[in-house]
Amino acid sequence: MKNLKKILAIILICLLSFALAACGSQPAQNNPPAQSGTQPAASAPAYPTKPMEMIIVWSAGGGSDLAARLMGDYAAKELGQSFVYQNVTGANGAIGWDQAANSPADGYTVANLTFDVLTNQAMGQTPIKYDDFDLIMQFTTQPVGVFVPGDSPYQTLDELLAAAKEKPETLQMGTTPLGGFFHQAAGLLEASADGAKFKYLPFKGSAEIIAALSGKHVDAGIQTLTGMEQHVENGSIRVLAILAEERSQLFPNTPTAKELGYDVAWESWRGFAVPKGTPEEVRAILEDAFKKAYDNPEFQQKAKEAGLDLYYRGAADFKTMLDEQYPNVEAVLKQLEFIK
């Protein structure tokens, strides 16, 4: 019986300490604000004085979650407080963004925004608009490419699109669920090559698209570039074109669609925002902290190791970009006949 109690005690201690470690992995890194070198000027409000909440709308452990937590941890260091991360998932992010936008605008709730906020808004399935937030920064960009199986007969984007024109709606194009970012990119590609039509085969996510490309269950696929290098190097998948303004460092020899005469550049992104109406001074502190964290060489190194395509836009540039991108999202969804 004595033994039993001992064992139970050990188990309890372990459980408790890990519950603590798990819930509060950030407090351990806290610097008390007084010691932190980044204390704002004396006139600024005392912010932050307690841990802040970050709402991540994608599930724990996924790409967006890892990216947000990594950026958040470094920003928290600059702020001298910690982020308590909450994954509020579901409805393509709408549930979490709804909760974030309706949180008090005091700077203690930060939302992780991704491209899908634009899609949700254009689809009209949720009342939340990107304008319901005050933007802080954009920190990554995820360019996509057009990929084909290694032994595909199509050697160039021209050949692929010519085939899609010749036999409309027969070439199978792997994307994520219809209406989403990948499908929009493919739709723009169709529009740029007059009369080309794909047959879309939607998959749950990138992993499934890679499997379908390697197993030749699709004729082509739209896919983010990150993580594709070794499939391309290995010869099981080939990349025909990059759908971005510039060539990618990952595939320097692959042309962009624009170089090939197709006017398509479709960029997905991740960033941070706070509920609309957050005081300007508070926003300035956040913007400053996130910028400093972004410039931290240690963060840059970690992000590179994690395969993130870093790209910085400050609050104003971020807003300009979204204002430009949103009408395009609406246009392509109209073209794909999701909205009227």
Partner: protein, 496 residues
């Protein structure tokens, strides 16, 4: 060879060795608490591993993975609340054994089965990785549909007394699975305009509700002051005979687990139900299955642990995770600068071998840790009824809330508790509903993908060899089950 020796030396370094043990312990505890899963443990702890040496961090995470799959069976057996969906298959037999005072042995068998299944999958992973990865890539939408349909034939195994009622329960599960986001189009359906329903019914709260809350209602209604029979807890180490009898199903379960594990998206839950069906068909005492059979614990628990090795195969060789845990592991590896995929085996054998060795070590550690925690935990069954009821309620509520921080999910769990109670009262088995809720989305997705591919022609399922094979097995198993059941149930025309 030098690399192999190096790998073994690496994992036996004190720090790596203790991290593995720690990982297994955390995994077991997270697995045992309903609502906390191995996936969550890995997601929460992986940020802490960023600053560790890559191999140490992988060993910790692999330990959690192995422990998590086993831990969930503990509460499934003792209090009828599976710690994770993958353990739902052992609820009926495990809880029945607990009521018979054999809960300890049941957990013991679950532990041994997990180790056997885990080691089986390690061997498969080490020797057959490239081959199995190629096999996994042959699965397109049509093949997925057929293999999922085959998984659904396990409904006959979990139906209990009446197949007709079992099929009804399964259809109810399939219907409930359609609530929420459409897999193909970006719209939510069947949500009755309720915002929280738009993302669908979460699976874990539903399972907790149907098993644990339904049990709470039953316990409360049947509670009598004098009805306080004390359940005995006997030994926890299975004796040689019990081990020998269930070993066959541990190995079969291991085989099933590896094969299903390598298919991205299928995962441990399906494997454990397929293994349960296998036990039901081939057990020495098929009449005991569902009422407290050790074999019915051995098969599914071996299968869900074997999934871990199986799911590692496409993750390591193709960079495609086979389940939610390996998806998180993949992220953790990339943070460490290790990119799993076709080139890993060419360029990074120095990383691959310690991973292999670590998986074997964590399975051995599972045997050790498992045996230590079994005895104290199995005493849960000794708790007096009123305490047990409150205990179940608390863990049920926490568990359903924790899965996505949503109070709506607690509501879902309570509603399913009421549903589960009434289904049980009227002899509609619960397990087919659970099974169908897991398989429903996969079945729908692959069916619709296949229909897109073939422009609406169902012939696609009969022209692809792998698909034909699985459809044939599905037809044979269900027909033979129906035939056998009717023969056995001579006196009563079993519910017809």
């Amino acid at each position: 060879m030098e690399l192999v020796i190096n790998a073994i030396v690496t994992i036996f370094q004190p720090i790596n060795f203790s991290l593995t043990l720690l990982g297994v312990l955390i995994g077991t505890l997270f697995g045992a608490i309903p609502g906390l899963t191995a996936t969550l443990a890995i997601a929460l702890l992986s940020p802490l591993t960023f600053n560790m040496d890559p191999i140490s961090s992988m060993l910790l995470l692999l330990g959690i993975y192995a422990g998590g799959m086993y831990g969930g069976s503990i509460t499934a057996i003792t209090i009828r609340a599976p710690g994770a969906p993958a353990n739902a298959a052992v609820v009926d037999d495990g809880y029945a054994l607990t009521l018979q005072g054999k809960g300890g042995v049941a957990i013991g068998i679950s532990n041994v089965a997990g180790v056997v299944g885990g080691l089986f999958s390690c061997i498969a992973m080490i020797f057959l990785s490239p081959l199995l990865a190629k096999f996994a890539l042959m699965f397109g939408p049509a093949e997925y549909f057929s293999v999922t349909l085959f998984g659904l034939t396990a409904v006959f195994a979990v139906s209990g007394k009446s197949f007709v009622k079992g099929v009804f329960s399964a259809l109810l599960g399939l219907l409930l699975a359609t609530v929420g986001y459409d897999p193909i189009l970006p719209f939510s359906r069947f949500n009755f305009g309720v915002g929280s329903l738009s993302r669908g019914l979460s699976f874990l709260p539903a399972v907790i509700g149907m098993f644990a809350f339904a049990e709470v209602i039953r316990l409360v209604l049947e509670y009598k002051e004098e009805n306080q029979q004390i359940v005995k807890v006997d030994r926890v180490v299975p004796n040689l005979q019990e081990f020998k009898e269930s070993l066959r199903f541990m190995i079969r379960g291991g085989f099933i687990g590896v094969l299903i594990g390598i298919l991205p998206g299928a995962g441990g839950t399906i494997a454990s139900y397929v293994a349960y069906g296998d036990v039901r068909r081939n057990a020495r005492h098929p009449e005991l299955v569902g009422k407290g059979s050790l074999e019915a614990i051995a098969g599914p628990e071996s299968a869900n642990n074997a999934v871990s090795g199986g799911a590692m195969i496409p993750m390591l060789t193709l960079g495609i995770p086979g389940d939610s845990v390996t998806a998180v592991l993949l992220g953790a590896m990339m943070i460490q600068g290790i990119q799993p995929g076709p080139l890993l085996f060419k360029n990074h054998l120095d990383v691959v071998y310690p991973i292999f060795a670590g998986m074997i070590l964590s399975n051995l550690a599972l045997l050790f840790i498992g045996m230590i925690v079994v005895k104290p935990i199995s005493r849960i069954a000794l708790i007096k009824k009123p305490l047990l009821i409150s205990f179940l309620m608390i863990f049920g509520v926490i568990g359903s809330f924790a899965s996505s921080n949503s109070i709506f999910d607690v509501l879902v769990a309570i509603c399913f508790g009421v549903l589960g109670f009434f289904m049980d009262r009227f002899d509609f088995p619960i397990a087919p509903t659970v099974l169908a809720m897991i398989l429903g989305p996969l079945l729908e997705n692959s069916l619709r993908q296949a229909m897109i591919t073939s422009n609406g022609s169902p012939l696609i399922f009969f022209t692809k060899p792998i698909s034909v094979i699985f459809l044939t097995i599905a037809a044979i198993t269900s027909l033979s089950m129906i035939y056998r059941e009717r023969k056995q149930a001579k006196p009563l025309p079993s519910g017809f």
